[in-house]
């Protein structure tokens, strides 16, 4: 069975999961062409 500390870790992990980092959080601010992710048609090239 999970110990109390594991239950605490699960609870806090859930809190972290609600505020996931975004890829652009690891990149310098780009003034002119900031990322604006949005769903584009699947038949458009994604990569």
């Amino acid at each position: 069975p999970l110990q109390d500390e594991h239950i605490y870790q699960l609870t806090m992990g859930k809190a972290g999961f609600r505020h996931l980092p975004y890829p652009s959080d690891s990149e310098r601010i780009r003034v002119h062409l900031p990322r604006k992710p949005c769903p584009t048609p699947s038949y458009y090239p994604q990569l």
């Binding site: 069975p1 999970l2 110990q3 500390e5 594991h6 605490y8 870790q9 699960l10 609870t11 806090m12 992990g13 859930k14 809190a15 972290g16 999961f17 505020h19 996931l20 980092p21 975004y22 652009s24 959080d25 690891s26 310098r28 601010i29 900031p34 604006k36």
Partner: protein
């Protein structure tokens, strides 16, 4: 001890000043002009007078940056405008980071690098301290944003092409690894997603595993992965995963795949330490690590008819294991008896006491798995040395009738099903790419199967091999050649065993392997 009166106000004024200077056109290249002006202001305000004031200044700045983020994040709860939050926070956070980088770069003179590194360790420690306190006080309201941004931008800034920083790069890496170890998921679980993002960032991996000479970053990076595996252990072992843990597990697999593809030698070197902290039932993740092999090695197809494993050139060479696993055999009295038994087959009670020695007092596990793993690898490596000193090479005949094999056969016979499963798992964890350990432990597993005095032993050997084969790829080369030998070699009469026919799908699976072998 409370801050001196007026210091918070002074700090807020200075931080605001710096942010404006950092973003002003007059800041100059890498903000150096702004910095030289700002340092004078810090002097005038007496901030740099004592170590204590500098410490308080950085803590107050960190807390102010954090507060700014929480205010912006609380507004985001209404607006849902995520970009807005980042646009509000990052200019201040990035300015604060640049100030830290410039202070580290310019503190002390260039010959005395200790001042620089001490300041960096201090600042990282302060940010980590604020994070841990925030984590504890806010609980589930904790947010990783400010800390993640500070750490990653500071790391990128300190790894720029600056000679002054290049000279102290290893100490910079060490400082960050220490900080990330302090903030490991078991200590700050609400920060764990940002934490894995930080340690898998392309610049961090590049520095730790590729650019740092003589692989000096490998041990520290391995420690961070062990921190991650230790966090996952209790949840993976129960296999009942919440969505966040499942998400973290998938993220971990992605990072391991990058390491398998780019740095297989790193996984080869530290496989032993990783297997100690990966739950036995997390087969695919363990297979991924055990499948790594040196890039300059070409693995013969395991299905090659009449493959002569013992003729492969690499099979004689011992794999690198930069870990003193012998030291993990405790207590010392047990190690002394073990060495004595290996040499002289005495004390004879050693074998009968073995099962007790391997029991664990840890809640939730009956056996001491790290001790089991260390014992198996230690006895196996001693056996290989022993065989080589006789001018022989490991084979089904040369490994037999030795004190080493006494121990393995005793464990196979004397342990209960759980203990035997863990023992056989320890052996199977050595079945990797062509090397002397893979060869010896492959022979050992086949020998234990051939010499088994009960079918249960043979069944459990089959179980340990099969559960590793039915998961998705990758599969370690040593596992495949062992299983193929077990099925193909008539000496083992494998297909005659009852457990091979225990269920139609199992029978079909074996037959498909037989067909691919034949």
């Amino acid at each position: 001890i409370e801050d001196p009166p007026g210091l918070p106000e002074k700090t807020e004024y200075l931080l605001r000043e710096w942010v404006n200077m950092y973003h002003s056109p007059a800041a100059g290249r890498d903000s150096t002009k702004a910095f030289s002006l700002f340092v004078q202001q810090m002097h005038q305000q007496g901030i740099l007078k004592t170590d204590d004031l500098i410490t308080r200044f950085f803590r107050l700045c960190t807390e102010m940056c954090v507060d700014l983020c929480y205010r912006a994040l609380s507004e985001q709860a209404q607006t849902q405008n995520v970009a807005m939050t980042r646009n509000k926070c990052f200019p201040t956070l990035d300015a604060f980071v640049r100030l830290i980088m410039l202070l580290v770069k310019h503190s002390g003179d260039n010959s005395n690098t200790n001042t620089k590194i001490n300041l960096l360790n201090k600042v990282l420690g302060i940010v980590a301290g604020v994070l841990l306190q925030d984590h504890e006080v806010r609980g589930e309201e904790f947010q990783q944003l400010p800390y993640h941004r500070i750490f990653i931008m500071l790391f990128i800034d300190l790894n720029g092409p600056e000679h002054v920083l290049e000279v102290i790069n290893f100490q910079i890496l060490t400082a960050f690894c220490n900080t990330y170890h302090v903030l490991r998921p078991t200590k700050a679980p609400a920060f764990m997603f940002a934490w894995l993002e930080l340690i898998s960032h392309r610049v961090f991996i590049g520095r730790m595993l590729s650019l740092t000479p003589q692989q000096r970053g490998w041990g520290m990076y391995a420690q961070l992965l062990i921190d991650l595996f230790k966090f996952l252990y209790p949840f993976l072992r129960n296999a009942e995963l919440t969505q966040p843990i499942h998400f973290l597990y998938k993220g971990t697999l992605r990072v391991l795949l990058v390491l398998l593809h780019d740095f297989p030698e790193f996984l080869c070197d530290y496989h032993y330490a990783f297997c100690d902290v990966i739950p036995p039932n997390y087969i695919q993740m363990r297979n991924l690590i055990l499948s790594a092999f040196p890039r300059n090695m070409r693995l013969p197809d395991p299905f090659t008819p009449n493959l002569k494993v013992d003729m492969l050139p690499e099979i004689q060479h011992a794999p690198r294991i930069p870990l003193n696993f012998a030291n993990m055999i405790t207590p010392n009295s047990f190690k002394i008896d073990l060495d004595s038994y290996l040499k002289t087959r005495s004390p004879v009670t050693f074998l009968s006491d073995l099962r007790i020695s391997l029991q664990s007092k840890e809640p939730g596990s009956r056996y001491n798995i790290p001790l089991m793993n260390a014992l198996v690898l230690y006895v196996g490596t001693q056996a290989i040395t022993h065989i080589h000193t006789k001018g022989l090479t490991p084979s089904m005949s040369t490994i037999a009738h030795s004190s080493h094999m006494d121990i393995f056969q005793n464990l196979a016979v004397d342990l209960d099903t759980e203990g035997r499963y863990l023992f056989l798992t320890s052996i199977a964890n050595q079945l990797r790419y062509p090397n002397s350990h893979t060869h010896y432990f492959s022979c050992t597993l086949l020998y234990l199967f051939a010499e088994a005095n009960t079918e249960a032993i043979q069944e459990q050997i089959t179980r340990v091999l099969l559960e590793r084969l039915i998961v998705n790829r990758p599969h370690p080369w040593g596992l495949l050649i062992t299983f193929i030998e077990l099925i193909k070699n008539p000496q083992f009469k494998f297909m005659n065993h009852e457990f091979v026919h225990c269920a139609p799908e199992i029978e079909k699976l074996f037959e498909s392997v037989v067909r691919s072998c034949v």
